[in-house]
């Protein structure tokens, strides 16, 4: 037995190494986190079809080349846009007893504004010189108005916010039969508050 024992390597710094690796992975993995506003484009149309929408069911948002906002023919501030859109969508102007009557709307029920959320259409028009920043800000506020109402209805029917349901599905936290159940609930809410956001073709610059 002439073998000599090799000295033990000090393992005291193992913890440090592990920590460094941990930090390294923490730093590198958080970079990819693209999020954004999803939108479905209308399919290409062969010929122009005229769809008749009553003036009162139309909420027109106009942005000019100087990024100023015109909502329903009146100058408005970006910060008021969300509430204006909610008031319009939630108005429920159709009189009680008619087939269009909206029993879950909590708005003013003004006959001048939209009949019900299914009929209400938000139309956005912008100039070609509108900045993309403003365009996204307006889109964001309009989607926020829809999300607010969907959250409210989902909370009323199922005690759970619509945006939270969607997040759960998107991030894969909910799977299997529960996901199907929630998908169905989300469709009910989408039926109540359909996202009808139309974009008109922008006018030529300077108009």
């Amino acid at each position: 037995m002439a073998r000599r024992a090799t000295p033990e390597v000090n393992a005291g710094s193992m913890a440090d190494i592990a920590f460094l690796l941990l930090i390294f992975f923490l730093v590198t993995t958080t970079i990819e986190k693209d999020k954004g506003i999803a939108r479905q484009l209308p399919p290409p149309i062969e010929q122009d079809q005229d769809v008749i929408i009553k003036q009162k069911n139309l909420f027109i948002v106009n942005v000019n080349k100087n990024d100023q906002l015109l909502v329903e023919e009146e100058l408005a501030d970006l910060k008021d846009l969300r509430q204006l859109a909610i008031d319009f969508l939630d108005n429920g102007g159709a009189p009680s007893g008619t087939p269009d009557y909206c029993n879950y709307c909590k708005g003013k029920r003004s006959p001048e504004s939209s009949d019900n959320p299914q009929k209400a259409v938000v139309s956005m028009q912008n100039d070609r010189l509108t900045s993309y920043k403003m365009y996204i800000a307006v889109q964001n506020e309009l989607v926020a108005a829809y999300n607010f109402l969907r959250d409210r209805e989902a909370q009323r029917l199922y005690g759970w916010k619509y945006t939270e349901m969607k997040k759960g599905i998107d991030e894969g936290d909910i799977t299997g039969s529960r996901a199907d159940d929630i998908q169905r609930k989300m469709e009910v809410v989408q039926e109540l508050i359909p996202l009808k956001l139309s974009e008109a073709e922008p006018k030529k610059s300077g108009s």
Partner: protein, 156 residues
């Protein structure tokens, strides 16, 4: 018992591990500097607008279109906003070919669920975005997502 204690006599001295943290630190810094987690080289400015009503991008089925003014180092291409797909500038009429090329790189079962991710600089005119959207409509690529950074423009 003394039998076991005896072997100490001819031992090598323990290797000093005091410099090990420094070595690992150097490695760490090296990797931090070298790793780039972006697959295409950006030729355009990318200051994305802010938004808070966002959805997560599904990266496995997305194709990116970048737009904005030529970025730092590419000023020679002018000051007009440009479209970038993949690693090079594209103009509106060529979008379809560039996208088709990228689409083939996706997994076959996801090619029909393709989503177009628009990363557009906030100072771009909407007209350019409209041109892109019009082209996408003609190609029947109807799902798109405007990539934003977290936050709300009202808070500025």
């Amino acid at each position: 018992m003394s039998k076991f204690n005896k072997k100490k006599s001819g031992d090598l001295p323990a290797i000093s591990t005091a410099s090990l943290p420094d070595i690992v630190f150097m490695l760490l810094f090296f990797f931090m500097v070298v790793t780039v987690l972006r697959d295409s080289n950006l030729l355009v400015m990318q200051r994305l607008p802010k938004g808070d009503q966002v959805e997560k991008l599904q990266k496995d089925r997305s194709v990116f279109i970048y737009a904005g003014k030529p970025g730092p180092g590419y000023e020679k291409y002018g000051k007009e906003a440009k479209i970038q797909i993949g690693d090079k500038y594209t103009d509106v009429t060529n979008i379809r070919f560039a996208l088709e090329e990228l689409r083939r790189k996706l997994r076959p079962e996801l090619q029909d669920k393709i989503m177009i991710a628009l990363k557009v600089d906030e100072e771009t005119n909407t007209g350019l975005v409209t041109d892109i959207k019009q082209e996408l409509r003609e190609q029947n690529l109807l799902k798109l997502i405007y990539i934003t950074t977290p936050g709300n423009q009202l808070d500025e």
